[in-house]
């Protein structure tokens, strides 16, 4: 009953309150109080005008009020003060004074009355907040606000925007706002808007152009269709770049996976079927490093680069000494034995760690993406992996070309007997090569941990692909591996949209089988006597 009375009184007052407030706003008192007072009216139309007034008031608390109003947290207490509710869970809500920002402790929800809004007001509030943000001193806030305005501009806002655009200091904000305005204009069939949107990639721009294209004015509609065509063109280009990016990313993973295999296969003529499992060990090393250094995923990742290399290289040496050296000159048996090792390693991880996938955290500086434009953003982790692949490739190239070990490896690859006659200890070269190739597999695993799930089956999926890369590129040729890996990655990604992931993979496999018909020794075959296998 008391509540009803209160409401009735409020309604009565509402009619003449604004004028009353205006009268009581003596010089020196807070002008904000009057502004808020105008909000507490019944008519939504009046509320809308009040909101516009608040936006135009340049009051620095305006944003906070508008946001609170939008969230339903701007309320009026029984004693007539306007408060902002900080947390509306439970019965008693902590509040602060809307005008002074002073904390008022907790108030019961019964003492408070929400200032209601409807959907139209909600929309108005959103753009109002965006406009307030546009003049905020914080650049990031200005930018994100400009982003939010795309497609949200209405008649009133359009007028306000024009001076804002002219005054905007930030280039990005000016461009975005221009776009937002153009979208509004295009939707209303204005030529200027359609022209400005030509080639724009934002999905809202396309919506606006589509609407303009079906408008009444034939000239504008034609222009809109032309603009749409250029948008499509531009989108196609961007999709092409994106496909290329994904292809190169996949390709660099393939290069990482294959390059170690290429080295061991080139030198020893041995297919190490456990190569994929060495990658898996590298990935698990990353996971373990992150377990050892909780809270520092970035540092752990950096440290796991040498750690992954070492772990995989040591396991590689163990494989070479334990099994492969006894199978000299029997490549097919070596293949079977190393396959057995791969099974053991997989099961070992399943038994010791877990059959389930482990999560490797992506450090902050590697997550997120590089936004090129509205239709194209490149994920950072892939970019890093690409860079890492190139780095590993360059490092291997240096080892092969500039070091004593590299010289010996190349000699043994080309002619084992002759190299031994020249005093090269082929067995030692074998061990070191195998360690190097395995270590690189470990590095590939570290990189992969950032792209896929780390689980016992991680390596299995790569052994066939990596061997395909080696075959495609030509054995004993690092450049061949690089070119083959990258091109297979790109081919796969290009085929994927219209053939589906599985079919794309099949097509690539068939392609390689046919390719070997033409060039049995790969893209870059070894020349001369070394080629006589």
């Amino acid at each position: 009953m008391r509540r009803f009375l209160f409401w009735a009184l409020l309604c009565l007052l509402a009619g003449f309150l604004p004028s009353a407030a205006a009268q009581t706003a003596a010089p020196g008192s807070d002008p904000g109080a009057a502004l808020l007072e105008t909000l507490d009216v019944d008519s939504y139309r009046d509320k809308g005008e009040a909101i516009t007034a608040i936006v135009q008031s340049d009051d620095e608390r305006a944003r906070e009020w508008l946001q609170a109003l939008l969230d339903g947290r701007l309320q009026r207490a029984d004693d007539g003060r306007f408060v902002v509710v900080l947390d509306n869970a439970g019965r008693n809500w902590p509040v602060e004074d809307a005008l002074t920002g002073e904390a008022l402790g907790e108030m019961s929800r019964r003492e408070l009355d929400r200032i209601g809004i409807n959907n139209a007001l909600r929309n108005q509030l959103r753009s109002a907040i965006a406009v307030v943000d546009l003049i905020s001193p914080d650049v990031e806030r200005r930018r994100s606000s400009a982003d939010r305005l795309l497609g949200e501009v209405d008649e009133a806002l359009a007028e306000t925007l024009v001076p804002v655009i002219e005054e905007a200091e930030d280039d990005y904000v000016r461009r975005r706002l221009g776009q937002a305005l153009a979208i509004y204009q295009a939707e209303n069939g204005e030529m200027a808007g359609v022209e400005a949107l030509s080639g724009s990639l934002h999905p809202r721009a396309r919506v606006a152009l589509n609407r303009a294209a079906s408008g009444d004015d034939p000239v504008v509609a034609d222009a809109a269709r032309a603009a749409l065509a250029s948008v499509e063109q531009n989108l196609k280009l961007n999709r092409g770049v994106e496909t290329l990016y994904f292809g190169l990313s996949l390709g660099s993973v393939l290069v990482l996976a294959a390059i170690g295999l290429a080295i061991t296969f080139g030198v020893m003529g041995v297919i190490n079927m456990a190569h994929g499992e060495l990658m898996m060990l590298g990935a698990y090393t990353t996971w373990m490093m992150q377990q050892l250094l909780p809270g520092q995923p970035g540092l752990a990742l950096v440290l796991s680069i040498p750690a992954g290399f070492l772990v995989a290289a040591l396991v590689g040496i163990a494989i070479e000494r334990g099994v492969i050296q006894f199978l000299k000159g029997r490549p097919l048996e070596t293949l079977l034995a190393t396959f057995g090792i791969s099974l053991i390693l997989q099961q070992l991880v399943r038994t010791v760690i877990s059959p389930l996938n482990r999560t490797v955290i992506t450090p902050e500086w590697m997550s997120g993406s590089l936004v090129i434009n509205d239709a194209l953003s490149l994920t950072l982790n892939r970019l890093y992996v690409m860079g890492f692949a190139l780095f590993v490739f360059a490092a291997l190239m240096l080892v092969m070309r500039r070091t004593r070990l590299g010289l010996e490896v190349r000699a043994v690859t080309q002619n084992r007997a002759m190299a031994r006659a020249m005093g090269i200890r082929a067995t030692r070269v074998d061990i070191l090569t195998f360690a190097l190739g395995s270590g690189v597999a470990g590095l590939a695993g570290v990189a992969l941990s950032q792209l896929t799930n780390v689980g016992p089956n991680l390596g299995q999926n790569y052994i066939i692909d990596s061997f395909m890369v080696v075959v495609f590129g030509g054995v004993g040729n690092l450049w061949g591996t690089l070119v083959a890996g990258l091109s297979l990655g790109v081919i796969n990604q290009v085929l994927e949209p219209w053939a589906g992931a599985v079919l794309a993979k099949i097509i690539v496999l068939v392609f390689i089988i046919l390719f070997i018909q033409k060039r049995p020794r790969g893209l870059f075959p070894q020349k001369g006597r070394a080629a006589e296998g």
Binding site: G269, P331, L336, G340, L343, I344, L509, G533
Partner: protein
């Protein structure tokens, strides 16, 4: 079994004059008879009674053994390490599975007179063209031979013509079976996708769930193994077989002598693929399902292990290996499933490093002879 003693006789009759073949066939026949008698004559519950489940299991081993013989034919005598024979096995199995699917008729869950259940489920309107004819047994059985044979012909033609050998060939065959596995996983292929073909009812009018049919399939597998073994022996003891062994040990030299090596390779490869197809066709009705996992590279490489464990280039070694490994697998996966992959992986290493001649090398009377011992071409 030198060339002199065997030449002059009809080529298919030649194997019967070999000691090893006589012993092998004798043992196989004895095994078939004993199992049949123990199954039929003894009452249920008798200590020596062999139940239907075990008969079925043995039948499965025998079809695996035939598959191993097929692999040994190309690996042992031709030097081609095929890591994709599972593909031929699976294709033969799918041909049989398609026949069995069509035999279900209206008794499927959806009761469609023509379409198998999974097609009804996928809202297919009509039977894809490659499913036609599989309602006829003769056509399906012909396909069991022709489909893997054709794949082997095309693939082998391309591979051998461009002289892909050694590890290259191994990995390409692995890629082949991997690609097929991916393809068969797709529902659009029309082979039941992930679930494969299953829920079979009867074969040639016999109920697949009755123990008599199972016994029949077991015997059929044994007979097929015997025939396949004789055929392979006949091939390897013929002049063609000698050329194959020559190719295995020195491909370039054989080529220079004037043999068209790739033709011999192709012929034997196709025969082997067909044998694998038959093995698959016998396997499917006994296990009651065929799905893309038979295409998995792991299965194909496991077959090679059977052969390696049993002893390469002996044929009977392949049979021994297939049965030993699969028996071990049955026991292990029942008792301690986690340990199976350790055991399998360990076997791969131990056999290649310590037992290059396999179990057959330990048998009495095994002497080191030129045609028994494959020499690995140097890398």
């Amino acid at each position: 079994m030198s060339l002199h003693s065997t030449s002059g006789r009809f080529w298919l009759a030649r194997p019967f004059h070999e000691r090893a073949t006589q012993i092998f066939l004798g043992v196989l026949l004895a095994a078939l008879v004993i199992v049949t008698v123990l199954h039929v004559a003894l009452p249920r519950g008798h200590a020596l009674h062999v139940n239907a489940y075990t008969v079925n299991l043995f039948g499965k081993y025998l079809s695996y053994a035939l598959l191993a013989v097929a692999v040994d034919l190309v690996w042992g005598y031709l030097g081609i390490l095929s890591l994709g024979h599972g593909a031929f096995f699976a294709i033969g199995g799918y041909a049989m599975g398609m026949y069995l699917m069509r035999q279900i008729g209206e008794r499927g869950t959806y009761g469609h007179p023509v379409l198998p259940d999974f097609m009804v489920f996928l809202n297919w309107e009509s039977l894809p063209w490659y499913w036609h004819g599989f309602d006829m047994a003769w056509f399906a059985f012909a396909m069991v031979l022709l489909a893997p044979g054709l794949l082997a012909l095309v693939f082998g033609f391309l591979a051998f013509r461009s002289r892909v050998t050694g590890v290259y060939l191994s990995i390409i065959t692995q890629a082949l079976t991997f690609a097929l596995m991916l393809a068969f996983f797709r529902n659009e292929m029309g082979f039941g996708g992930n679930n494969g073909l299953t829920d079979f009812r009867e074969i040639l009018g016999f109920n697949l769930r009755s123990s008599d049919t199972r016994l029949g399939l077991f015997i059929a597998s044994g007979v097929a193994l015997a025939l396949g073994y004789i055929l392979c022996r006949a091939i390897v003891t013929s002049k063609l077989g000698r050329v194959c062994v020559a190719t295995r040990d020195a491909e370039a030299r054989t080529r220079f002598i004037g043999y068209r090596v790739e033709r011999f390779q192709l012929f034997v490869f196709v025969v082997s693929a067909m044998l694998a197809g038959v093995a698959g066709a016998l396997y499917v009705p006994q296990v009651g399902i065929i799905n893309p996992s038979e295409f998995s590279p792991l299965f194909s490489i496991e077959i090679v292990l059977w052969v390696a464990l049993g002893g390469r280039a002996t044929l009977y070694g392949a049979v021994i290996g297939a049965i030993l490994v699969n028996y071990a697998k049955t026991v292990f996966t029942g008792v301690m499933p986690d340990a199976w992959l350790f055991a399998l992986g360990g076997l791969f290493v131990l056999v290649t490093v310590l037992l290059p001649r396999g179990v057959a090398g330990l048998l009495p009377g095994f002497t080191r002879r030129a045609d028994h011992q494959p020499k690995e071409a140097s890398a």
